[in-house]
């Protein structure tokens, strides 16, 4: 039974694998296969996640009264401060809407968010992917943006029925259209594979960009909503021998420290929710 038959089998397996990989890499035909198989794997990921949740639950239940009171105090102060800011924001929003209606602009900022928990992170140290515990059942779709309280985290690349996989902005295959908040300069932030930096490509040497500049999403490309913080410039290196400056950015989102993330549904221009539209911000 063995001998030539094993050889035939391994050659077949190799061929099928190569075909699968090519199909998976070039087009999104295999999304349904991936989704179906992810249902099989989901219980495993859930089981691995269980002790971590139990640990968090126990820690929560064992925290002392003093700690709770202190936390409560802190939250009250935070709430007051945020409330004050919200009040000014409400007037600003009303004013903004009025001005936009005067300008007859169609930009809307209707957004819906959903909190998702991390099930697992990619075991490959060079790609930055995470698995979330929300899937198509909760309305998650491929291409959806992912943020935390500090800034943009990434986007969903495949959604299974119960879980979904997301690509972080630090993944080498991720590109994100951004804008320098101070000057409005547009750029594309690509991941470097390192967990704490992304780099800006094709910034001219004479461009007005400095260390400390805040970058926000530009909303171009249609994948990400406009105006979310992305990160701060940590290094600008201008070499007159090179055509472009070397700009490094530290992401503001806490990419490696989060357990909860926010999924965003946003309704911008009509084309944005069309799933067949593949803008530049997608995985290459």
């Amino acid at each position: 039974m063995r001998g030539p038959s094993t050889l035939v089998r391994v050659v077949l397996a190799t061929l099928v694998s190569v075909v699968l990989m090519t199909a998976d890499h070039k087009a999104a035909h295999l999304e349904s296969v991936r989704a179906a198989l992810s249902t099989v794997v989901y219980p495993l990921q859930y089981a691995v996640h269980l002790p971590i949740r139990a640990g968090a639950w126990i820690a929560e239940n064992l925290s002392s009264r003093g700690d709770l009171i202190a936390e409560n105090e802190r939250l009250k102060v935070d709430r007051l401060r945020l409330q004050a800011r919200l009040e000014t924001l409400a007037t600003l929003e009303a004013e903004n809407r009025r001005l936009r209606s005067l300008l007859d602009s169609s930009v809307k900022s209707a957004e819906k968010v959903l909190v998702a928990e991390l099930l697992s992170v990619d075991m490959n140290p060079f790609s930055r992917r995470i698995v979330l515990n929300k899937g198509r059942r909760d309305g998650v779709y491929a291409g959806q943006s992912l943020v935390d309280s500090q800034g943009v985290m990434g986007q969903v690349v495949s959604a299974g029925p119960f879980s979904s996989t997301a690509l972080l902005i630090t993944d080498p295959s991720h590109a994100l259209p951004v804008q320098v908040h101070r000057t409005g300069l547009r750029a594309v932030a690509t991941g470097s594979g390192a967990s704490d930096s992304v780099s800006l490509s094709h910034i001219p040497n004479n461009a007005d960009i400095r260390v400390g500049d805040l970058l926000v999403t530009s909303g171009l490309g249609g994948r990400f909503p406009h105006g979310y913080p992305v990160g701060r410039v940590t290094r600008v290196q201008r070499d007159s021998g090179q055509p472009f400056a070397d700009v490094e950015v530290e992401p503001s989102a806490r990419l490696e420290r989060n357990r909860e993330v926010l999924l965003i549904w946003f309704q911008g221009r009509g084309v944005l929710l069309d799933s067949t539209y593949r803008p530049t911000a997608g995985p290459r």
Binding site: V16, L20, V48, S120, F126
Partner: protein, 163 residues
């Protein structure tokens, strides 16, 4: 071998792969991710060596597909690597099986290196950066873990008489 014993053996093998997949999905700190042992490859190597008639290329390929879905890599990437690993184990298992466990470890280093190299080559083709520690970390740790994996799986095999 009765049909009941056969089914039970299949269950034991499947359960060991489930545990390996769970260990693979276990969250680890950033610095340790480079040194994560290739659990699934270790389990596959053991079963291919112990009961080559039951586990082989097809089992490796199917489990690899699950690893691909779980880790979000290209469908077929780990499947290909595990299928080739199973094939190589089939070629050498008669020579390796008689060696003492620590000498088997050296072979396991080579096999896991082959597995990691295949996965990383495909990453490289996709344009991802790869370093030397990525090639050597997992094989080293897997080699050191092999005696324990071997003993645990051998005991399981003997207790449930998987053949």
């Amino acid at each position: 071998m009765s049909a009941g014993a056969g089914a039970r053996g299949g269950l034991v093998i499947a359960a060991s792969f489930v545990v390996a997949l769970m260990l693979t999905a276990l969250p680890m700190p950033e610095w340790a991710s480079m040194w994560r042992p290739a659990w699934v490859a270790l389990v596959l190597i053991y079963w291919c060596m112990a009961v080559p008639a039951r586990t082989g290329v097809l089992v490796g390929w199917s489990v690899g597909l699950l690893v691909d879905v779980m880790s979000g890599t290209l469908l077929g990437q780990h499947a290909l690597a595990l299928a080739v690993t199973a094939f190589v184990v089939h070629q050498v298992h008669r020579r390796v099986r008689v060696l003492p466990v620590w000498q088997q470890g050296a072979t396991v280093f080579g096999l896991v290196f082959l597995f990691e190299a295949l996965v990383l080559w495909i990453d490289g083709i996709k344009g991802m950066p790869v370093t030397l520690t990525a090639y050597l970390g997992a094989p080293l740790v897997s080699m050191l873990l092999w005696p324990w994996v071997f003993v645990v799986l051998r005991d399981a095999r003997r207790r449930f008489r998987v053949s």
